[in-house]
């Protein structure tokens, strides 16, 4: 339980330490959602695979680049815990990318949908 509490606090502090980035992401996401929601009806479900593919690509890119971004190399990952954590971090980046891609993809598909 304490470890969950600690992890939640680490995430909060990371967000505070990187607040310009977090704020920029939130603004872009909000803008895309507003854009998409104002153009209803949109093919949200049909365009979901596009967002998932975009998220997967970013996730794969993250898996390849995150170790190098913090001064390590992929060859430093020698323990299952390393791979599990790299996967979790990359999944987070992938999910963030998918969240941006989904409204954009739905908005781009609006004409054909209409």
């Amino acid at each position: 339980m304490y470890e969950i509490w600690l992890a939640a606090n680490i995430l909060l502090e990371l967000a505070l330490m990187n607040w310009p980035l977090v704020l920029a992401y939130a603004l872009v996401l909000a803008l895309l959602l507003i854009l998409a929601l104002r153009a209803r009806p949109l093919p949200w479900r049909r365009r979901l695979p596009v967002a998932l593919v975009a998220g997967a690509l970013v996730g794969i890119l993250s898996m390849l680049s995150v170790p190098g971004l913090i001064g390590a190399q992929l060859s430093d990952l020698a323990y299952w815990v390393d791979w599990a954590n790299l996967f979790a971090v990359s999944a987070g980046f992938g999910a963030a990318a998918a969240a941006l891609a989904w409204p954009l993809a739905a908005w781009q598909g609006r004409e054909r949908f209409e």
């Binding site: 600690l6 990371l14 607040w19 390590a72 390393d82 954590n85 971090v89």
Partner: protein, 448 residues
Amino acid sequence: MTRNSREHADSAHLHGMDRRSFLRLTTASALLLGINSRPADAAALKTAAHIVIAGGGLGGIALANRLSRELDGAKITILDRRPEHYYQPGYTLIGTGVWPRSKVVDAVAPLLPAGVNWVQEMVAEFDPVANSVTTDSGSKIRYDFLVVATGLHLDYAAIEGMDTTAIGREGLASVYNGPDGAVASWQAMAAFRDKGGEAIMTLPATPMKCAGAPLKTTFMLRDRLLKAGTLGKSNISFQSAQKNVFGVPRINEEVLTRWQALGIGVEFEHKLVGIDIGAHRARFVTPAGEKLERPYDFIHVVPPMRATDAVKKSALAWQTGPMAGGGWLEVDKETLQHKRFPNVFGVGDINGTPRGKTAATVKKSAPLVAANLIDVIAGRAPQLKFDGYTSCPLIVREGSALLIEFDYEGKLTPSLPMIDPLQESWFAWLMKVQLLKPAYFAVLKGRV
């Protein structure tokens, strides 16, 4: 433990109106996520007590945040002149070229809770009989309860010829000497890395903070030489003033095994007693009194450490036993309450308890000190007992580390039992360079 649900979302990194706005936004998000809504066991304890916290490092600020939240009506005074807070666990990263200086320096003011009286003076004298402290400007401040969180004294003066202003030149490094010392240490290491040569790494005989730092610096120096292609014409020798290189036997064996494989030589019971910086020569003495002189191209000096003068000269220090020589604070190792003055507690490096301290020690002990102090204020005996928990991400090269955690007994106590503390991992490196500083700030703010 009494605890109210009021939390401060102040951040050391956020200043100015736009940041405040963002802070409100994130605090609101945190509230939605439940991060700022720890269960309230009970209402804050009402008291008119005056609590003085001597020292504004991690332990002092964490206590100020916790006590201001968990006590209602208390007067809390924190004494420390320094306007900047240094994230000391980052010194080894600066000193080995991983981080810039800016990553470890933050303003103190935003870290202190509203209502706490911050006196920007240092404690010069403790008088626990009269329940008062005297600051270096001569002001006398009376207290009902005292938390000693002064940190320790780096006794560079005990090394004949040592000059901290020379760190960064003539192959002289010492990552302990503040952020500027760490930056200068990297300059010395980088210059040595490019040429190679004879490197001496030292370890003092005294109790010390972050006992892993000399080991990390040694591992990283070898890694830097390897990557620069100068390892072949270099020799690294670790000169320990003790009979080991780390106090926890299992970790000591692990490090020595790794160093043997990496070609790092170790000599024990060689205490650094003097240095001729211009001539690049270090003088050591053995317990038998034998004097040795060693030439070097690069030396990492770890100074002997002792209690601050104010504690050492006061009645608060151990009067007998192995901790008396260094003047360390005489606290019970479990409750962290002073053994002779029950209205006094200690937190952090100043405590005369077994094992070296790290930020992780404060993470575990600051909530306990707050709870036990509140027990004493409420007229109860202290309830919680500290097991000596300490942890150290022991860097073995850039990109990999061991995540070791242990207690007073020297037992390995991994927080996540499925992770082998002796298995080097990228995860431990990730913790060291990305995740521990956020955790540290959560400790400062009294949340974890």
